[in-house]
Every structure is written in C-alpha cells, then in structure tokens.
C-alpha cells in the first residue's frame, strides 16, 4: 500500500496516512499556498532591491526606463492575462470531467507561454545588440549616466527570473496534460491541474507588478 | 596592543573620555548579567538539590502562575528600555564629531592603511595626531570592505568602497594606540595593522614642520638618519606594508616574491622573458608594479607612486641589496 494516492482509472485510493481523499486534497492545496509564499518572498526580494535603488537614484532610473519598449510590455501583459484565463477554463473543465476541452485549454495556455517568450526574446536580443547589458558589460554610448547599468542589472535579473518561471510553468502544464491524457487525473482527482494552475496564475501575478514598475513608472 | 595599564576585567586602557563613559555602561551590563546568571543558574541548582527525587521530593501539580509570568515579562522589558536609553546617550557622543575637529583622510586598501593630511602628506600604517584635540577620520576603501578599530578609544567603523564613513576621537593619553582591521579582507587581513601616535602639543608642532618626533611611551626608535641605509630600508619595508605580501625569509609561497637573493639575479617574468633585478627593476616594480610581473605571481600589487619618495626608495633598494 503506497504512501501516496495510487490512481486507478475511475477511483482514487487516497494516501493511507490521510483520513480521506478530501483531507489529502486540502492538504496538498495548502502545501501549494505555503510554497507560493516562498516564491513571493524570493521574487519579492528582487522587487525590494529595485524599489530601494530607484529611490536612491531616481533620475538615472528614469532615464534608463526610457530605453524599454512599453508596447511590447503591454502585449506581454495581455498574453499572460489571457493565458491565465485559459488556464482557469482548463481547470474548471477537468473538474466537470470534460477531458478534451481541458486539454485544448491547457494547450492554448502553453501556446501563450511561447508567445510571451518570443516577445521576450525580441526584447532581449535588441538590448544585447545595442550593448544595453547589466553592470560591468554595459557599453551603450548614447546614455552613459552613472547607475544606468545598475537599472539594467535589476531589469535583466527580474525579467530573467520571471521568464525562467514561465518556462517552468509551461513544463509543468505539459506534464499535467500527459497525466490528464493517461486518465490519471480526472473528475475525482484534479488536484495536480489545480495546483499547476495556481503556479501559472502566480507567474502572471508577478508580471502584473513587474510591467508597471519597470516599463511604465520607471 | 599597547595596553599601558590594562583596565579592570580585561578592558583595554581608556584613551579618551568617551572610553570612560563607555566603560561605565559596560560594567553596569556586566554586573547586571552576573546578577541574572546567579538568579537563573543558581536557582536551577538550588531546586536541583532541594527537590531531588532520591531525597523523597513529591511533585506538586502546578501549571502556571499568571502574576509571576506577567512580572518576568514586564520587568525585563523595562530594564531593556533603560539600557537602550543609556546606550543611545553614549552612542550619540561616540558618533557626532565636534564641527571643529581636525580632519584626516584614511584610505584602506588591501592590507595597508594610508593616512592623508590636509597639507597632502601621506603616511602609511601610522598616523600622528595631537593630544586633547578632536580628530575626525574620513575613511574610504579602494577595493574591498575593511574595518578600522582603535580598542583604546572604543571606536570602530567599517571602511566601505564606494562611500565615506567617519570616526572621531579626542585622545587624552599620549603615546601609541593600536589599530586593527576588523572586517575580513583577504589573505593578510590579520597583518593590516596601524598605530595612532598621539603627540603632546610641542611635539605636534615639531611634527607639522616635518621634523622626526619621539613618541612618549614608545620604544625609542633610532630616527631614520642614525640608521644605516639597509636598516632604514628594513624599517620602511615594514612601515609601508610591504611585509604584508613580501618576505625576507626566502619562502616563495607568499603573495609577492621574496626579497632574499633577489638583487643582481635574473628574474623570470610571466611573459617568459627574463630580466636582471637591478636598481631600475626594483624602482619600476615599486612605482608601477604592473609593468613587469614575475612568473607564478598574481598582478595585484598597488602602485606606490607618491607614497615612496626618492630617499626612501634608495633605502629600500639598499636593504634588498643587503639580502643576498
């Protein structure tokens, strides 16, 4: 008798140390929320660094943020919000047992993830080509004010960590789609889809704060 | 550590008035801690003896006592706030330098201290200050974080690259006071020592006019002129911080090459070529060390331009010459 829930199509045998399946799912969900707190703190520390440096060097950061392209940022925000929406629809369709609809929604979500990364790729390659790089590698001639490279160190770290989490999220969604296809995840046991949904929404949440902070307010 | 007379309970001697009021707070905390230690650990041992099971003690069912618990929560809080208040009053005196303080620029770099007076004079690992005159050190670092600590004056501050930090003191005790580096800064962190030399008023005037001065209480160092050239070189090499990386023992494992057996011999450089170690080679390696880098050593030596003048250079070369 495995310690964790063994899933045979149709019925779900909850882990033997849990009282019942409902307790186990609630436990898993709360565990996910605790994990999301650690993500909040990790990404949040970067925001703290940004807020403090912006407060120390407002004019340098204002000049530097003009080099960012707000239109691409806006496009990415729309992309991520739509992907959050399709993710939610995916979760509710698996809860209703509509497997094919769920797979379709999850597929679109991953698709939007790719769109986001492609837009990110353009932004990064444009900057690297121009020489707008973090810290010591900054060789962009037009704007040579002091502390501008520091802005781009923070920009590349924050958007880089976020992009890394987007890639992780897309991997998780693909993994959960396989489990749905194999029938392991179903109407009775949809927790994996729900929790991967939480992770994706969190990634979108980070971008919701990142976009105005870096692109618009500067 | 020039203790002169070690103060009670191992504290260093009191070089300034701030040190006196500091010691009062320190001793208050010390006796308060001894009292609480006896209260807690003494109480514990007393209970251990009195309520031993083997002496027939029966356990009494007590769960808690709100009055007592409230008591030992509030009283420590009040006590701690008192300590904080007293501490803040002492701290204000320690950090706010009087506006008329004499300023000296201190530059910390890997493994030596440079002191720059207003008239431009630079001293390495030693600084002369007048007695009973407030002196303010404005400090910055050229490479990594160092820490500037004068135990006798109870002052300490990190020396951080990219920003200025300051300490101030009004030395009461003439004589030498030890300075330590207290923020880990690399291989010779523990050799990055300096001395604050406090001079009486007349000696201070003599020093300002550039005359050599004998510091009270310090070992009478023969003034430079009475020493032979190699002995002067030896003293300078120690004073200028060279011994932090180089040595005269012949051990090649240091951060910089050894002086022993250097003069007149061929030196293999990093780029494969070899050059004879003559006066010009030694002068150039001191003034602009990056010009020729010896094989197997990292090019980390700072330029000593403006720190080692011509007379000192001749003494150092003579000293190295004497180490065959």
């Amino acid at each position: 008798m495995g310690n964790h829930g063994q899933v045979t199509p149709g019925t779900y045998h909850h882990g033997h140390h849990w009282k019942n399946a409902h307790e186990e799912f609630e436990g898993a969900k709360q565990g996910m929320w605790v994990f999301l707190v650690t993500e909040v703190l990790m990404v949040g520390a970067l925001f703290v660094g940004y807020i403090i440096f912006r407060a120390m060097y407002p004019e340098a950061f204002h000049e530097a943020h003009k080099l960012l392209n707000p239109k691409l940022g806006l496009l990415n925000t729309f992309v991520l919000i739509t992907s959050s929406w399709t993710m939610v629809l995916g979760v509710s369709s698996i809860q209703r047992g509509q497997v094919s609809r769920c797979l379709a929604y999850l597929m679109t979500t991953v698709g939007f993830g790719f769109v986001f990364l492609i837009v990110k790729y353009f932004e990064y390659s444009h900057k690297i080509h121009e020489g707008i790089l973090p810290g010591g590698l900054y060789t962009y001639k037009e704007l040579a004010m002091d502390k501008v490279p520091l802005f781009f160190s923070l920009y590349f770290m924050m958007t880089g960590v976020h992009a890394f989490h987007v890639i992780l999220g897309m991997g998780l969604i693909t993994w959960v789609m396989l489990r749905v296809k194999r029938g392991e995840v179903s109407k009775q046991f949809f927790t994996p889809v729900e929790l991967v949904g939480f992770y994706w929404h969190f990634v979108d949440l980070v971008w919701i704060f990142l976009f105005p902070l870096l692109y618009l307010l500067g | 550590m020039l203790f002169r007379e070690a103060y009670a309970l191992g504290l260093p001697s009191q070089g300034t008035d701030v040190a006196v009021i500091w010691d009062h707070l320190y001793l208050f905390l010390l006796w308060l801690s001894v009292f609480f230690f006896i209260l807690v650990v003494g109480g514990m041992l007393y209970f251990a003896v009195k309520y031993k099971k083997s002496s027939g003690a029966k356990p009494k069912y007590i769960v808690d006592n709100h009055a007592l618990e409230l008591f030992w929560t509030i009283v420590p809080t009040i006590l701690l706030l008192v300590i904080f208040g007293w501490g803040w009053s002492v701290y204000k005196k320690m950090v706010h330098a009087p506006t008329n303080a004499m300023e000296i620029r201190v530059i910390g770099k890997q493994w030596l201290w440079n002191f720059q007076y207003d008239d431009g004079r630079v001293l390495t690992n030693e600084v002369y200050v007048p007695q009973n005159v407030p002196v303010k050190f404005v400090m910055s670092s050229e490479d990594v974080i160092h820490g500037f600590f004068i135990p006798n004056f109870r002052v300490k501050s990190d020396v951080v690259p990219g920003m200025f930090t300051t300490i101030w003191f009004e030395a009461k005790q003439a004589g030498e006071h030890q300075v330590f580096c207290t923020e880990y800064c690399g291989a010779s962190h523990s050799l990055m020592l300096a001395k604050v030399k406090v001079l009486e008023a007349d000696k201070w005037e003599a020093f300002k006019r550039g005359k050599p001065v004998q510091v009270t209480g310090a070992k009478p160092e023969a003034s430079l002129t009475q020493l032979s050239l190699p002995e002067q070189g030896a003293k300078l090499v120690a004073a200028k911080g060279c011994n932090a990386c180089h040595n005269a023992t012949g051990d090649a494992g240091g951060i910089g090459p050894t002086y022993k057996g250097l003069f007149g011999h061929d030196v293999e450089l990093a780029d494969g070529s070899t050059v004879k170690a003559d006066e010009n080679y030694i002068r150039e390696s001191i003034m602009t060390p990056t010009a020729k880098i010896v094989k197997g050593y990292n090019p980390v030596m700072p330029p000593f331009q403006g720190i080692v003048n011509e007379t000192e250079m001749n003494a150092i070369i003579a000293y190295i010459k004497s180490l065959q």
Binding site: V37, L41, I51, S92, G136, M145 | A270, N298, N309
Partner: protein, 296 residues
Amino acid sequence: MANDHNHDSSHGHHYILPDGVAFKAFAALLVLTVITFALSFVHLGSLNYVVGMLVACVKATIVVGVFMNLRKDDPSNTVIFASGFVFLAIFVVLTSTDLLFRGNVYTNNKPIFKAIAGPSKFKKPWEPTPELVAHGKDVFSQQCVSCHGAAGEGNGPAAAALNPHPRNFTQDAGWKNGRKPSQIFKTLKEGIAGGAMASFATLPMDDRWALSHYVASIGPNILKDETADLAKIGVDPTKDSAGSDAAPSVPVEWAMKKLVQEAGAGSGKQVVPGASDSLMHYGDRLDAATFSKQKP
C-alpha cells in the same frame, strides 16, 4: 493495516468556477491593464507611482481571488499567502531606514559627494564658467596640492623628491601636452608617461573639467579651446554631455586583452598562469592609468 480504506471516490463538495465569472474577471483585468498603460502617459509626478501600484494590487486581488479561488477557499490559505507580503513590507521599510537615510559625510563643513561619480551636474563642462573654475579650485586643494603646491607653482611638500619637477602652472614654459583646457583634460585622464604625474581618471568627469579650467586660469594668459581641439579628445560641442569616460573598472575580457598587449606577450596563454580568476582579483587594480603607459 488496521485501518480500512473507504473508497471515497468523489471530492465531496468542491467549487467549480462558472465560465461567466471567469470571463468577467478576465475582462476586468484587460480593462485595468489598458487603464494602467494609459495613465503612464499622464504626468502626475509621484502620484503616478501610487496609482500604478494601486491598479496592480486590484488586478492581483482579482487573479488571486477569482482565478486562484481564494474567495471560496479555506481562509487560512489567505492568511498564509498574505503573510508573505507582510514580511516583504517589513524588509522594504527597515532596509530603507538605512539606505535612504545615510545622508552626506561632511568634511571641512562641506558635504563631500559620494565617492562614486554621480551623474554629470554641469551642462557642456568643457566651456569654462566661474562656477566650474571655483569647483576646480576646491578639487585642486584636495588632489593636487601635495605636488603642485597651494598656488600651483609646482612646490608642494612632495615636490622635492620628484624628478622631473612638477609643472609650474603660473609659467608658460615646459608644458608637454599644452595649456588649453582640453589638453590639460587629456593629461589628467592619462597622466604623463615616464614622469611622476599619475592619471586621475578615477575622478568624476566634472571634477577633471573643473580642474582643467582652474589650472588654465592660473597661467599668464587664458587660452580657448576650438572645436578641433575638443574633437581631438572625442568631445562633440553640440551635445550637452560628453558621456562618462571614467569607467572605474572595465569588463574583464577587455582588460585581459589589454594586459596581453601591454605585456607584449603575443598570445593569451603566456599571461600569468591562472590569470583569469586572478584577473578578477586584479580587476579592481585596473584603472585607466595602467593603459595609458605606452611600452617605452
């Protein structure tokens, strides 16, 4: 195992988010994003900042409340998630009590600028203005007095030991690079090869221009820079600022290339073994002065 296995097949009661509610939330998020974007063009000063963050918080609450279903969930999850932000707030507030309240360090009752070069404060610094010359005098007393003396006659306390003797600014004779401000600026940036005049490239650019104008003003007659002189040192007079050339330290690879040329070692491998990481250590020793020395 003693305990039995109840085959609890269903999830008991669980809330499925109706598609209608999901769409309304999605629409709200899109609208709010457009509002944020539009607001960024309206210039409200610091208020701009507050509004931007408020809208972001509203959007975040929608995502967390509706999409992540915290509305209908066990309230302890909300407490857990909110605690993350509380401790972030503590982190920001207490760290900024240090970084934002350091204030300047005062010397001779004047605040000295932070050791790191701040953004250039003077427009077109290559044009002499009384304010620049005064700032030049101030920097001169801190940096140049030890060799060139208080009045610039080249008789500072350290001058006796220097060979060749430091320049006497009050006379016209003996200037290697010339007495025009742009030429003095070049000397300040690169130092003089073979002499005791080190490079002062680590000084912020404004200080160096100010010094150039002050030193030029000591001399018998004040010479003017033409655009040709300025072009020689890469300054385009039409622009406001000449960019900052005082890179206190340079990218490691570029430095490595430079060191190899300087040591005349042909290919990279003959440089000091293990030079790459020692170079990192060497990085902070690197300043423009080292590169200015042409091999004699």
